[in-house]
Amino acid sequence: MTRAGTAVLPTGLAVRLALAATGWVTVACTQALPDAFPLRTLVVLGFVLLGPGTALLGLLRPGGEPDRGPGRAWERTAQNVLLQLMLSLSLLVVTATTLMLLDCFTGMRTLLALATITTVTALPPARR
C-alpha cells in the first residue's frame, strides 16, 4: 500500500463512516437548500462525481500494486481519480436508467439509491 494510494482511497473506520455519510449529507442538502443554490450545486456535484465511485473502489480495490517506485505516484493517483469518476458517473447512469425502466424515476429516488449504494459499499472494512 503506497502513500499516494492511501491519500486518495478510504481506509480507517472514521474515513469509511464519513464516506458512507456523504450521500445522506447530499440528500439533506437537497431538502434544506433552495433550488440551484451554489452550495447545493457544489455538494451534489461533488457527491455525484466522486462519492459512489470512491466507496465502490474502496470495497473492490484490486491490490498487487504493479507500480513501484515514487516516479509512478502520479499514475497511481491518476488511475484512482479516473476510477472514482468513471464509477460514480456510471452508477449515476445505471441507477437513473434502471429507475426509468421501472417507471419510478425521480431525482430524489436516484439520489437515495446512490446514497444507499455508497453507504453499503463504504462500510465494510478494507480487505487488507
Binding site: R40, R61, P62, P66, W74, A78
Partner: protein, 685 residues
C-alpha cells in the same frame, strides 16, 4: 516550497535512495528499470518507513528559505506564458463580435489576442517539457489552458449553446423531466426512438438536473465540450504511459490528441460521455490486465529504449477478477448510454485477443455480452425495425464511408474549412506514420495500441451511421494516432546498451527538436481553430431564433406537423413526442424537383393530411438558410424561392416573424366549398 536537492533534516540522501530501490523491488532486477525518469518530486516525499503523523512531519520541517533569484526566474519562465496567455485570451473574449459570423465562423471573428494567447500557450508548453523537473503539474496546467482556449471560448462568447443537436438532446432531457422519466421503448417516436432505447446519458442528466434543482440542462450545456475534454485527460495520460515512460512523449501525445480532435463530438451528447468511458475502460485494461509473456527477440532492447516502457506486470487471478468486477459498471453504463461505442470497445478487446500480452477472453466476453443483453431487451424494437436496412447497408464501403448526407461545402469559407479539416486529420495520420517508422521499438511495444486504433475501421464498411461513421472512426483512432504522431517529433536515441536494467536520465533532445515540436504543435493549433469553429455560422443560434421557435411550440397543438427547410434550428425537437416532422432538404430526386419547381403546391400536398385540431407549420430560420447555403444542401436561392412561393399562396398564413425567421401556418381551404373562389377573405389574415 523545498526545491530539488533539499531534504528534511537528518535524512541523508543516500539512505533514501537505497530505501527507494528496496521499495521498488518486485523480485526481478528489471524492476529497478521501472523509471528512467527519476521523479524529482519524490525528493519532497517523506522517506519510506513507519508512517509518522502529519503534525510531526510539519514540526520537523526546516524553515523555508526565501526563493533565490534563480528559482524565481525559473518559476516565472514556466508560469509566465500560461498566465499571459490566459489573460490575453480573456481579453480577446470581450473583443469578439458574434453577431455577424461569416464563412469562417468564430475563427475570423476573434481578435489578434486570441491567436497570441494560443501561441503563448504552445510556446510555454514546449518550454516546460524541456525542463526535467516540471513533468506533471506544469504540462497539466498548460493542457487545461489549451482546453480553455479551444473549448471554453464558445461557451463564453455565445449567449446560447451551439449545435442543433445540443438543442435536440436538451429537448430529450426536457421530455423525460416533464413526463416523470417514462421511457418509450417502442418505435413510436420514430427517429427519436433510439434516444429512449439507449437512455442512459439522458437519464443521468435528468437526475442531475433534478437533484441540483435546475429547471433544465440549458445552463450547463454550453460547457459540455470543455468538461468532456477535461475528463479525457486522465485516461489519455494513463493509456500513453503504458507504452512510454518518457513524460514528454506522453504529454505531447495528449496535446496532439486535443489538437486533432476537431470533429466536435464533445458537445452535450451520449457520444461524448461514451467516449470517456471507452477510453477509461481501455486505460484500465491496458494497465492492469496484461499477461506475462516471454520477451521475444527484441523484448529487452525494446524495454531499454528510452521512449518505451516496461511491459505492464501481470496481476494474480484474484486481482484480475476484481478488475473485471470493477469494469462491469462502466461497461453497463456504456451499454445503456450509446449504440455505437460498446461495439467499438468490443471489437477493440476482440482485436486485443490477437496480442498474447493482452489476451483477455473474459474481459472481451464482458464487453460483448453486457451490451448484447441490453440490445436484446431495452433496444429490441430498434433492431427489429432496423436490421433489414442495416443488412442492406452492410458492405457498401463507398456509401458508408462518405461523410454527411451528400452535402458539399459552398463558398470560400466553408470550402477552406473543409480542406483544413482534412488537412488536420491527414497531418495527424502522416505524423503517426512517421512515428511508426522512426521508432521500431515503439511500433513493436505499442502494437496493442495500434490494433485498438485500427479496430474501428471495419465499421466504416458496416454502416454509415447517418453519414457520421468516418468521423467517429477517426475519433476512436485518434488516441493511438496521437501517440505515434508525438513519437515522430522525438529523435531516435543513440544506440542504448543492451542491458535491460540500464536506467539513467531521459535522453536529451537538442534545441532543434524543441523547435520542431513548437512548429508542429503551433501549426496544428492554428489549423484546429477554423476546423472546430469554422461552421459556427450554422451552429450558433441567436436568442431571437430561439424565441421564434419557442413561440411556435407554445401555440402548436399536439399532433401538429412541423416542416422546416432544414433541421438546423434550435428547439427543433421541443415537445417532440407531440409532433411530427419533415425537413425539406431530405427530399431527393423527383421529389426535390417538384419541391423546387412549385414549393407552395408541394407543401400543400404534403400537409393536406393534417386534421383539426392539429395544425401544420412551415418554419424558415436564418440558421436553416446558412446551413443550406454553406453546405450546398439545396441549390442557391432555394430558400428564398420557397419563402416567396408560400408567402404568395392563399393557403398559408404568416403567424410569427422576427429578425431570425418566419413561421407560416397551413390553412387548408374549407372542404365543402365548390363554387366559391379559391381565396377566402375571412381566412387571409
Amino acid at each position: 516550497m523545498l526545491s530539488k536537492g533539499e531534504h528534511t533534516q537528518g535524512e541523508p540522501q543516500a539512505s533514501r535512495g537505497v530505501a527507494r530501490m528496496q521499495e521498488s523491488g518486485t523480485g526481478s532486477s528489471r524492476a529497478t528499470a521501472t523509471d528512467a525518469d527519476p521523479d524529482p518530486e519524490a525528493d519532497l516525499l517523506p522517506p519510506p518507513g513507519p508512517r509518522r503523523s502529519i503534525s510531526r512531519s510539519l514540526l520537523r520541517r526546516p524553515t523555508v528559505r526565501p526563493l533565490s533569484v534563480q528559482q524565481l526566474t525559473v518559476h516565472l519562465v514556466r508560469a509566465g506564458p500560461l498566465a499571459l496567455g490566459i489573460a490575453l485570451w480573456a481579453w480577446s473574449l470581450r473583443r469578439t463580435e458574434v453577431a455577424d459570423l461569416g464563412g469562417f465562423g468564430l475563427a475570423a471573428a476573434v481578435p489578434w489576442m486570441f491567436w497570441a494567447a494560443l501561441g503563448l500557450i504552445v510556446l510555454g508548453f514546449v518550454g516546460v517539457l524541456r525542463s526535467p523537473a516540471a513533468r506533471t503539474l506544469w504540462p497539466a496546467a498548460y493542457t487545461v489552458g489549451l482546453l480553455l482556449i479551444q473549448r471554453a471560448t464558445q461557451a463564453l462568447v455565445y449567449p446560447t449553446p451551439l449545435y442543433a443537436w445540443t438543442w435536440k438532446h436538451l429537448s430529450i432531457i426536457d421530455r423525460l423531466l416533464a413526463n416523470g422519466g417514462h421511457l418509450d421503448l417502442s418505435n413510436r417516436l420514430a427517429a427519436m426512438a433510439p434516444y429512449d432505447q439507449w437512455a442512459g446519458f439522458f437519464a443521468g442528466n435528468a437526475a442531475l438536473v433534478r437533484t441540483v434543482g435546475l429547471r433544465d440542462a440549458l445552463g450547463y450545456a454550453a460547457w459540455a465540450p470543455f468538461v468532456s475534454s477535461l475528463l479525457l485527460v486522465l485516461p489519455l495520460l494513463l493509456v500513453f504511459s503504458v507504452f512510454s515512460r518518457d513524460r514528454r512523449l506522453v504529454w505531447t501525445a495528449v496535446w496532439i490528441f486535443f489538437l486533432g480532435d476537431w470533429v466536435g463530438q464533445d458537445y452535450l451528447s451520449p457520444q461524448a460521455f461514451a467516449f470517456f468511458l471507452y477510453l477509461g475502460v481501455l486505460a484500465l485494461v491496458l494497465r492492469n490486465l496484461a499477461r506475462d509473456v516471454p520477451p521475444g527477440r527484441h523484448g529487452d532492447t525494446d524495454t531499454a529504449y528510452p521512449l518505451s516502457a516496461l511491459p505492464r506486470p501481470a496481476l494474480p487471478t484474484r486481482e484480475r477478477v476484481l478488475w473485471l468486477l470493477l469494469l462491469a459498471t462502466p461497461v453497463a453504463a456504456l451499454a445503456m448510454a450509446h449504440q455505437l461505442t460498446p461495439v467499438v470497445l468490443g471489437v477493440a478487446l476482440l482485436v486485443l485477443l490477437l496480442v498474447p500480452r493482452y489476451r483477455n477472453p473474459w474481459a472481451a466476453a464482458l464487453v460483448l455480452i453486457v451490451p448484447a443483453v441490453w440490445d436484446a431487451t431495452s433496444a429490441l424494437d430498434f433492431f427489429k425495425l432496423q436490421l433489414p436496412a442495416m443488412a442492406q447497408a452492410f458492405g457498401n464501403l463507398l456509401a458508408n464511408s462518405t461523410p454527411g448526407d451528400g452535402s458539399s461545402p459552398t463558398g470560400i469559407g466553408p470550402e477552406t474549412v473543409a480542406w483544413l479539416d482534412r488537412g488536420l486529420s491527414a497531418a495527424v495520420v502522416a505524423l503517426a506514420g512517421a512515428g511508426l517508422l522512426r521508432h521500431p521499438p515503439l511500433r513493436r511495444r505499442g502494437l496493442p495500441l495500434l490494433l485498438v486504433s485500427a479496430a474501428p475501421l471495419p465499421l466504416a464498411v458496416a454502416n454509415s451511421y447517418g453519414g457520421e461513421m468516418v468521423f467517429r472512426v477517426f475519433m476512436f483512432a485518434l488516441p493511438g494516432l496521437s501517440f505515434f504522431a508525438a513519437a515522430a517529433l522525438f529523435p531516435r536515441p543513440r544506440p542504448a546498451s543492451a542491458d535491460p536494467a540500464a536506467t539513467g536520465p531521459p535522453y536529451r533532445t537538442r534545441p532543434q527538436n524543441a523547435l520542431l515540436s513548437l512548429a508542429v504543435l503551433g501549426l496544428l493549433s492554428v489549423s484546429f481553430v477554423p476546423s472546430y469553429t469554422g461552421k459556427d455560422r450554422t451552429a450558433y443560434f441567436p436568442p431571437d431564433e430561439i424565441r421564434l421557435v419557442d413561440a411556435l411550440v407554445a401555440q402548436a397543438p399536439a399532433g401538429s406537423f412541423i416542416v422546416g427547410v432544414d433541421v438546423n434550428f434550435p428547439e427543433a425537437y421541443r415537445n417532440y413526442d407531440r409532433y411530427q416532422y419533415e425537413w425539406l432538404s431530405d427530399a431527393t430526386g423527383p421529389q426535390r424537383s417538384t419541391l423546387l419547381a412549385a414549393p407552395a403546391a408541394y407543401l400543400i400536398a404534403d400537409m393536406s393530411w393534417v386534421a383539426a385540431p392539429a395544425h401544420a407549420y412551415l418554419v424558415i430560420t436564418r440558421g436553416q438558410e446558412s446551413d443550406v447555403a454553406m453546405q450546398g444542401v439545396l441549390p442557391p436561392g432555394s430558400v428564398q424561392r420557397i419563402e416567396q412561393s408560400v408567402e404568395a399562396s392563399p393557403d398559408f398564413r404568416r403567424i410569427l416573424q422576427n429578425g431570425a425567421g418566419v413561421v407560416y401556418e397551413f390553412v387548408p381551404p374549407p372542404p365543402t366549398s365548390q363554387t366559391t373562389s379559391p381565396t377566402d377573405p375571412a381566412v387571409n389574415g
